[in-house]
Symmetry: C2
Subunit: 663 residues, 2 copies
C-alpha cells in the first residue's frame, strides 16, 4: 500500500551482500557467483538447490528446466553432427547431384523470370545441388524420426515437475491471489474479448503482409538484377537475393517480437483476468501465438509454398498481375529452407542474446552510473563502499519476470524440432547457445538484477502445454518437410517404379518436363535467347507434366499423381510410426522405475506402520495424562469436539503425506 | 494354509442372508437384489456405494465403469440412429445408386469367376447399391469424426479414477503381494518368454489360417453354386455365400475365444510373474491380444484387403494357383463389411450373453442341485431351509474374477469405435446389450456367485491403457475405412475433377474400366456367354485402368493415382483434425472445473488454517499439562524424541491429506 501511494519507489528483497571483492564475508550470493554464474563452470551441473533457496522456486525451476533441456540437446547434437558428416561423406557418390553437375548432359532450363531472364544451363546449379545433398539424404529421415521422438518424449519438464521436493510447497501459494475483487460479467468482458480477437487477427495479417512484401521484394530484385549487364552480378543473383531477403526477414522478426510483446501485455490487461496465474497464462498464450507466427511464417512459406504455385512455362501464375511467382533452385527448396532457418535462428540468438541481454542492461547500468556520478562527482568511490545494501541494490535492474527467458527457449525449441529435417545442425547451435545462456542468465540474476521476490511454483505451468503442442506439431511438420520439401520421395518412386537398372541414373531427367519455346505467351519469351550459342527449341522445367508432343500437352501427368500419393503415404506412415514408437517408449521405459516405485511403496507402508506405532504410544501416554488430569480438574480434550481429539492424533493418514515429502 | 492342505474345500466370505422370501430380515443383499439386480430398474442409476460396500472396491469400480460407459453410449446411439435415418431418407435421391438401378444403362459386367460364371448386368446389383447408401453417405463421415472424438475422450474411466473416494483406500492394498518369494534371474525366465512369444505368434498364425480357409470356402462355394443350373440358387449366390461364411467365422471366433483364454492363462503361469498385479496385467494383455486378433481379423480382411488384389480381367491374381481372389459387390465393400460386422457383433453378444452367462451357470446349478438331491432325496425342501449360510453359499459358483466381464466390454467397445464408419447402428446395439448386461451381471453377483473377497483398487488398471489404445486405433482405422472402403473419396474426386455439370451423373460409368473379351486368357473366358441374349465384346469391371484402345492397355490410369492421392490426403486430414479437436476439447472442457478447483483450493486453505489454530490451542493445552507434569514427576513427551513430539502435533501438513479424503 505504501508502494502504491508513492512513499516508497520500489519494494524488493535485499541481496545477501557483495559478490566480489576480497574482504567481503562468505555468503550465498558470493557462492552462487563463484559456483554458478561464470562461464568457467559451464561443464558442471548447476547448484539448483542453492538457486532455489536464494531466488525462490519459480526461478529455480526455470534453471532446472533449462539445465535438463540443455543436457538433452547433447545427444541430439551428436546425432545431428553424425548425420551431417554422413551427408558430407556421401556427397561425391550421389548420382543425382553428379548428373546435375555433368557438363555433357547439357540440359537447357526455361528462364526464371519473364523477358529479362534468359535460358540457363542445368550444370550452373551444380554447387546448390551438391550442398543440398548435405541436408537431403536418407540419414535425414532417420534423424527426423529420432528428433520427433526426442521432442515428444524428452522435453516435457515432467522429470522436474515430478520431483517431490517441488511438490509439497505449493500450499498457500500466491498464484491464486486475486488481482481484482470486482466481479465482471460476460457482458462486461465481451468488448475486451472482441478487441483481443480482432487485434490478434490483425497482427497475424500484418505478419503475413510483411512476408508477402519480402516475397515481392525478392521477385522484383531478381528481375532487376537479371537486367544488369555485368556478368558477376548475374551469376550471384540467387545468393544476393536470398541473403538480403532473409536479413530483412530477420530484422522484421526481431523488431516485431518486441512490438508484439507489448501488444500482448496490453491486450491481456484489458481482459482483466481474475488471478495472477490466469493473467500470466493468458499473456503467455497471446505472446507465444504472435511470436510463433512472426518467427515461423517466412520459414513455413519457404518450406511448403515456395515453388508450388508457379504454374508452367507459357502459363505462369502471377500475383498482382505483374509479379511471376518465384521457383525453387533445381536442387530442391530444402537448401533454401536450410539457409533461411540457419540465418534466422543464429541471427535471432546472437542479436537477442548479445544486444538485448548483455548490451542493453550494460547500457542502462551505465546511464544510471552516469546519473549517479553527476549527483556526487568527487568521492563516488568511497560513496559506493559506504552505501547501504538497499542503495546498492536500487541501482540494479528490477526483475521483469521469467516470461522472456522461457519464450526465447521455446522459440528455440521450435527451431530445433519443427524443421529439423532440413537443418540437422540446429540442435548443435542451440546447445552452444544454451551453454552460454545459462551462465548469462545466472550472471544477470546474481549481479545485475535486484533480488526477485521468491515465488512458489509446482511446475513450469503453461509452458509445459506449449512444449507438448510443439512436440506434436513437430511430428507432422517434419513428415511434410521430408515428403514434400525434400526430394526423398521422388527419388524412392523413381528407384522402384521407373529406374531401368535399379540405380538413380536418369532421375534428374525424369523430374524435368519439356516445354516447346514456341508456346510462350506473347511478351514473356526471353529477350536475349542467343546467350548460349545455339538456338533453343525445347527448354526444361521442374515439374511432372505431359510433354509438348503429347495429346494433352502440359497437362499434369500420371507421374505427378503417383509421386503425390507416395508423398502422402509417407506422411501417414511417418506420423503413425512416430506415434506408435512414442507410445512404445512410454510403455517400455517405466518398466525399470516400476520396481523402484514398488520399493518406495513398501518403504512408505513400513514408515506408516512405524509412525502409527509411535503415535499410538504417544496417544497412550497422552491418555494416561488425560486420565490423570480428568481426575484432577477440568476435562482436558473437550476443547472442540470430544471425539475428534484422539482421532486426529491416531489417524495414520496424515503421516502418509507428511513423510511423502521426504521420500 | 489350511486351504492349501486340503482341510477346507474353499474359503470365501459369506453372503448377508437370503435375498428372496417374505420372512427374511432386511439386509444389504436383499436391498441390492431389489434395487439393483433386476431388470425392472434398468432406467435407474446403480447404487454404486452399496455395491462397493458389499462386494469391495474392485467390483464396485467395474459396475461404476460399466454404468458410465453405458450412459455414454446413449448420445452415440442417438447420433447413430439419426445418421441411419438420414441414409434412409436420402436413398431415393442418390444418383449413383439410381444409375446402377437404371435398366436402360444396360452395362455388362465381367464374370466374377473363371469359366462357370457368366457376364452379368449392372442393374442386378441394384438392391446392394441402395442398401450401401444407408451406410455410405456424407453423414457417415461426420459420424466417424464424432465417434473418434467420443472414443478418445469420453471413455477413459478417468472420471471414475479421479473420484477421491476411490483414491484414499489404496494404502495397504494387497495388489503388491508377492506371488513367489523365489527370485528368478533373466536366464531362468528366458525359456518361458520364448514359449510365450512363439505361442502367441503361432496362435495369431492359426487365426490367419482360419480366415484364409474361410476365404477359400467362399471362393469355391461361389464357383460351385454358379455351376448349379437352378436360377433361384444362382440369383442368391452372394447372399448365401456371405451368410454361411460369416456364420462359420462367428462360430470359430466364439470357440477360439474360449481356447485362447485358457492358453493365455497357461502362458502367464509359466512366466511366473512377481506380484498378483503383474500376473493379472500380463494375463489380460495376452488374452486381449489373442482375442482381439481373433475377433477382428475377418473384419479387417473385408475392410481393407477384399477386392484390392484381384488383378484385372485377363490377368487375375490366384491363390494356390487355382482360386481366383474374390471381388467386392459393385456397391463397394462397405456393405459386406457392415453385414460381417453386425452378424459377428450381435452373434457374439447374443451367444456369449445368453448361452455362456445365463445358460451355463444355470446348468451347473442344476447339476449341483441334482447331485444334492441324490444325496438327500426325501426332505430337501426343509433341508435347504435349515442349512447354514455357508452351506447354501457353497452351492453357488465361485467368483472367477472380473477379467471376462471387462474383456467382453472392451471387445464390444472395439466394435463400437473401430469400424463405426461402416455400421452407425453399432452403438445402439451395444447400448441395448449393456442395459441387459448390467442387470445380468448384478443378478449373477447377488444370487449365483459366492460372495467374492473384497479387493481394493484405485482404477480400472491395464484396461484403461487398452481403452486408450483402442481409442487411438479407432481414429486411424475409421480414416482408412472412409477413404479406402467407402466410395466417399472417389465420389468427391469425380464431383470436383471430372463431373461436367457439377452433379454425380456419370459417376458409375467413371469408376468402371473396359475390357475387350478377346483378351481373356485361355480357359478363363465364361463357358456360357450367350446368357444375355446378345454377343458381348466389351465387359466392364470396377477399377481405374486404361481402356483396351489405349496405347498402354489395362495399365493403371492417371485417375487411379489421383483417387489414391485424394484418399491418402483424406486420411491425413481426418487423423489430424480429430487429434486437434480432441486436444481442443481437452483444453476447453476443464475451463469450468477450474473455478471449482480454485474453490476447493480456497476451502482447503481455510480448513488448514482452522485446523492449525485448533492444533495450536491443543498444543498449548498439552504444553500446560506437560509443564505441570514435568513439575510433578517424569518428563512426559520424551518417549521417542523430545523435539518430534510437539512437531508432529502442530504440523499443518497432515491435515491437508486427511481432509482431502472428504473433499
Amino acid at each position: 500500500i505504501l508502494l502504491a501511494n508513492g512513499v516508497y519507489a520500489a519494494a524488493y528483497p535485499l541481496h545477501d551482500g557483495d559478490y566480489e571483492g576480497e574482504n567481503v564475508e562468505f555468503n550465498d550470493r558470493k557462492l552462487l557467483y563463484e559456483e554458478w554464474a561464470c562461464y568457467g563452470v559451464f561443464y558442471k551441473y548447476q547448484p539448483i538447490d542453492l538457486v532455489r533457496k536464494y531466488f525462490g522456486e519459480k526461478i529455480g525451476l526455470y534453471f532446472a528446466w533449462l539445465g535438463v533441456y540443455t543436457q538433452m540437446l547433447i545427444p541430439a547434437s551428436i546425432v545431428g553432427i553424425i548425420v551431417f558428416l554422413y551427408g558430407c561423406a556421401t556427397v561425391d557418390e550421389n548420382i543425382p547431384s553428379m548428373e546435375m553437375c555433368d557438363q555433357r548432359q547439357n540440359i537447357t532450363m526455361c528462364p526464371l523470370c519473364d523477358k529479362t531472364c534468359s535460358y540457363w544451363k542445368m550444370s550452373s546449379a551444380c554447387a546448390t545441388a551438391r550442398a543440398s545433398h548435405l541436408f537431403d539424404n536418407p540419414a535425414t529421415v532417420f534423424f527426423s524420426v529420432f528428433m520427433a521422438l526426442w521432442g515428444k518424449q524428452g522435453l516435457s519438464g515432467k522429470n522436474i515437475g515430478d520431483d517431490p521436493r517441488f511438490m509439497f510447497r505449493l500450499l498457500g501459494s500466491s498464484l491464486h491471489r486475486e488481482r481484482h475483487t470486482v466481479k465482471l460479467t460476460w457482458r462486461d468482458r465481451f468488448p475486451a474479448y472482441l478487441t483481443n480477437l480482432v487485434s490478434i487477427i490483425f497482427m497475424i495479417a500484418v505478419t503475413f503482409a510483411i512476408v508477402l512484401g519480402v516475397i515481392i521484394y525478392r521477385i522484383s530484385m531478381a528481375a532487376a538484377l537479371a537486367m544488369n549487364s555485368s556478368p558477376s552480378v548475374r551469376s550471384n543473383i540467387r545468393v544476393t537475393v536470398t541473403a538480403t531477403a532473409v536479413i530483412i526477414n530477420l530484422v522484421v522478426i526481431i523488431l516485431l517480437d518486441e512490438v508484439y510483446g507489448c501488444i500482448a501485455r496490453w491486450l491481456t490487461k484489458i481482459e482483466v483476468p481474475k488471478t495472477e496465474k490466469s493473467f500470466e497464462e493468458r499473456l503467455i498464450f497471446k505472446a507465444f501465438l504472435l511470436k510463433f507466427v512472426n518467427s515461423y511464417t517466412p520459414i513455413f512459406y519457404v518450406a511448403f509454398f515456395k515453388g508450388r504455385f508457379v504454374g508452367r512455362p507459357g502459363d505462369y501464375v502471377y500475383i498482382f498481375r505483374s509479379f511471376r511467382m518465384e521457383e525453387c533452385a533445381p536442387g530442391g527448396c530444402l537448401m533454401e529452407l536450410c539457409i533461411q532457418l540457419s540465418i534466422i535462428m543464429l541471427g535471432k540468438q546472437l542479436i537477442q542474446n548479445n544486444l538485448f541481454e548483455i548490451g542493453i542492461p550494460k547500457m542502462k547500468k551505465l546511464i544510471r552510473y552516469l546519473k549517479l556520478k553527476r549527483q556526487s562527482p568527487p568521492d563516488h568511490e568511497e560513496c559506493v563502499k559506504r552505501k547501504q545494501r538497499y542503495e546498492v541494490d536500487y541501482n540494479l535492474e528490477p526483475f521483469a519476470g521469467l516470461t522472456p527467458e522461457y519464450m526465447e527457449m521455446i522459440i528455440q525449441f521450435g527451431f530445433v524440432t519443427l524443421f529439423v529435417a532440413s537443418f540437422p545442425l540446429a540442435p548443435l547451435f542451440a546447445l552452444l547457445n544454451n551453454i552460454i545462456e545459462i551462465r548469462l542468465d545466472a550472471k544477470k540474476f546474481v549481479t545485475e538484477l535486484r533480488r526477485p521476490v521468491a515465488v512458489r511454483a509446482k511446475d513450469i505451468g503453461i509452458w509445459y502445454n506449449i512444449l507438448r503442442g510443439i512436440g506434436k506439431l513437430a511430428v507432422i511438420i517434419n513428415a511434410f518437410v521430408i515428403s514434400f520439401t525434400s526430394d526423398f520421395i521422388p527419388r524412392l518412386v523413381y528407384l522402384y517404379m521407373y529406374s531401368k537398372n535399379g540405380t538413380m541414373h536418369g532421375f534428374v531427367n525424369h523430374t524435368l518436363s519439356s516445354f516447346n519455346v514456341s508456346d510462350f505467351q506473347n511478351g514473356t519469351a526471353p529477350n536475349d535467347p542467343l546467350d548460349l550459342g545455339y538456338e533453343v527449341q525445347i527448354c526444361r522445367y521442374k515439374d511432372y507434366r505431359e510433354p509438348p508432343w503429347s495429346e494433352n500437352k502440359y497437362d499434369i501427368s500420371k507421374d505427378f499423381w503417383a509421386v503425390l500419393a507416395a508423398r502422402l503415404a509417407f506422411v501417414i506412415v511417418f506420423q503413425n510410426l512416430v506415434m506408435f514408437m512414442s507410445d512404445f517408449v512410454d510403455w517400455v521405459i517405466p518398466d525399470i522405475p516400476k520396481d523402484i516405485s514398488q520399493q518406495i511403496h513398501k518403504e512408505k507402508v513400513l514408515m506408516v506402520e512405524l509412525f502409527m506405532r509411535e503415535e499410538q504410544d504417544k496417544q497412550q501416554l497422552l491418555e494416561t495424562w488425560m486420565e490423570k488430569e480428568r481426575q484432577k480438574d477440568e476435562p482436558p480434550c473437550n476443547h472442540h469436539n470430544p471425539k475428534a481429539c484422539p482421532d486426529s492424533l491416531s489417524s495414520p493418514a496424515p503421516s502418509h503425506t507428511y513423510h511423502g515429502g521426504v521420500l
